[in-house]
Amino acid sequence: MITQSEKKSILSYLLKDPRHYQIGVLGSLILLGVFHFAFALPAWHVMACLGSALTTQFIADKITGRPFDPRSPLISALSLTILLRTGSVWLSIAAAVLAISSKYLIRFQGKHLFNPANFGLVVVALLFSGAWISPGQWGTAPIFAILLAGLGGVVTGKAKRWDVSLSFLGFYAALILGRALWLGDPLTIPAHQLQNGALLIFTFFMISDPKTTPNARIGRVVYAALVAAVGFTIQFGFYNSAGIILALILTAPTVPLFDRIFQDELYQWPTLFPKFQSSRKGDTYETVQIPAE
C-alpha cells in the first residue's frame, strides 16, 4: 500500500520533473497535429520513432547496468517525430536508434555531447535523400500553441533551462531584426520569419535539454548566442532553411569548453524515490541524487 505521504511525494514529484511537462506538451502537439492540424504524420512514423527509441534505451541501460527510465528517450522520440519527415519506416527507426545510442557512445567528461534528437535528425537528413526537415509546415494555430506552451513552461518553472531558451530566442530575434533593418525590409518580414513552428520547438524543447547545455548559467547564455549566430549564418548565408538545427549539432562539441571556463554542477533529473537509488562511481547519467531544488 502506498501511504498518504508517499502519495503526496509522488504527486509533487510528477509536477516537479520538467520532463513530464515536456512529454505532455510534445505528446499533445502530436495528437493535435495528427487529428486537427493535418501535419501528415503517418502512424508508422510515430510508432517507429517511439518504439525504437525506447528499445534502444532499454538495451543500452541493460548493457550499462542502469535502471531503465523511459522519459528521456520519450522526449527525444517525440521531438524526432515532430521534426523529421520521411517516407521510409527504416529511416524513422534509424534516426531514433542513432539519437539514443549517441548518448551512450559519444561522451566526454561524463556528459553526452550531442542532443540526442538533434543528432538523429541531422545525421539521417544529411545521409539519406529520403529523410528531410520541413521547417515551413506549420499553421498559425500550432505555432501559437507551441509559443504558449513554451512560455507556460518558463513561467511555471517547468523548464529548468529557460535561460538558454529565452536567451537563444532573444539573440536570434535580434539577428533577424537587425538583418531586416539593414536591408530596409518592412518589419512584417522578421515577424514572419519568427513565426515558425520548428524554430519554437527547437527553442523550448530541444536546445533547453539540461544534459547537453553548459552547466553554468552564464555559460548557457553565451552558448545560446553562439548557436543563434551559427544558425543565422547557415540560414541566411548558406540558404539552408534548417540553419538552427544544424547549428546545434555543430556547436555541441564546444560545450565542454564552456563547462571548463564557467564551472558549475552537472544537472541531475529529479528522482522518484531517492532512497532506493544507489550511486555508482562515474555514473553521472540520470537519476542518482536528490535535486538541489
Binding site: S134, G139, L183, Q193
Partner: protein, 464 residues
Amino acid sequence: MKLSKYLLSSALVAASLSFAPSANAFCGFYVAKADTDLFNQSSKVALVRDGDRTVITMANDYIGDPTEFAMVIPVPTVIKKEQVHVSDSSLLDHLDAYTAPRLVEYFDENPCEMRHRLKRFSASAPVMMESAQADTARDQALGVTIEETFSVGEYDILILSAKESDGLQSWLTENGYKIPDGAERTLGSYIKQDMKFFVAKVNLEKKADMGGEMLRPIAVAYESPKFMLPIRLGTVNAKGTQDLFVYALTRKGKVETTNYRTHKIPSDKEVPVFVKDQFGDFYRDMYKTSAKREGGHGVFMEYAWDMNWCDPCAADPLSDDQLRELGVFWLNDREDDIRPMPRRGGKSMAKDVYVTRLHVRYDAESFPEDLKFKTTGDRGNFQGRYILRHAYEGEMNCPEAEDYVERVNTRKEKEIKTLANLTGWSTGHIRTLIDESGTGGFLKSRKEKEKGKSDWWDKIWSDD
C-alpha cells in the same frame, strides 16, 4: 496480326511496370481539367532544380502593344547570353495541362444484372495568357552597372547590378521603365542581398521579323544555392491577390515552400454529376474557399507526380525533348545510366523527373517574404481529383433495386453537402443547379413511382 498482338502485350507490360509504385492504379476516367486560365492575373513559372542548378522558364502572357512590355526580375547571379533561351509557350501549356486538377467519372452498374458498363467522356478548356510590367529605353549613370547586354530571340536583355536603390530606381525611370512607387525599398533590399536585375524588353524589329501575336517565354539557367522566386516587386502597390503557378521539376521528389506552409488542395471528393458542365466554376470557387479558410491566401499543392506516368491523364506526360527544352539538364546524362524501366507507351526509358504543381495566391500583406523552396525526398503521388458517380437509371426489376435506390440517394445527399462545403455554394443553390441540369437527380423508389408525381408541398421547403 501477330505484330499487333505483340505490340499490345508489350504496351500492357509497360503500363503495369510504370503503375507498380502506386497503390491506386485505377483513378477513374478522365473528364475535364481546371486550367490556369480560370484564374485572372495569374503567372506561370517552370522551375527545374537539381543541386544548386536552376532553370527557370517564365511564361509571357502579355497581350498588348509590345513597346509597352518590359520586365524587371531580381536574379541571384549575373546572367550571360548563353544562359538565356527563348522557349516555346506550348511547353508550359502542356505542363499546365498535364498537372491540372481533374474530374473523373464512374458509372454504377445495374444492381439487377451485375454487368460492366463504363463509358468515357472527355472535354478540355482553352488556353489564355497574361503577364509583366513597364516600358523601354536606355542610358547610364547613378551607380548602376550594366553587367551584360545581349539579345535573345525577340528580347533585348540587360543584366544590371547596382549600389544604391535610389540610383537604380532613377536609372530605370529615366530609361522608361515604369517602376511602381514604393519599389525603392524593395530594390534596396535585393541590392544588399547581392541580387542582380534581369531587365528585358521587346526588340520590335526582331519581333516583326518573327511575326506572331504572343511573346514567347524566357528561360534562364543559373547556379546558386538560392532556391527561391522573387515575388516582392510584384506585390508593391498591387491591389488584391495574385495567382502564381509554379511547376517544379526535380530529380528527387516533391518541392515545398520553406517559409510558408504548403497545403494540399482537397482531393478525391465525390460531387454531384452536374459539376461536369461547370467544372471551371467548381474549381475556381473551391480554390477560393480553400484559400479563404487560410485567410484568403496560401500555397496549395495541386499535383505532385512522377513524370513517367499519370492516372488518369489530363494530358500525356512530357516527352524527353520537351523536358530538355524546359531545362531538365540531367536527362542528357541518361544514356550512361541505364535503367530499363519503360515508360507508359513504351517509347523510352523511365526518367528521373518528378513534377510538383504549386498554386500560390498571395498579396503583400500575407506574403511579405519571397517564396523559398526546398526539394524533399517525398515521391508520393498526389493529384487534385474530383469524382462523379453516375447512378444506374435504367429499368430495375428486382428486390435489390429498392436497396440500391436508397443507397444512391444517401450518396447524392452526401455529394451535395460535400460540394457545398468545398465551394461555399448553398445547398439550395446546388439543388437548383441539379434540377436545371436535368441529370443526376434523386432516384425514385418503386413506391414513389407508383404514387406518381410528388406532393405539392414537397417543393415549398425543398432545401430541407
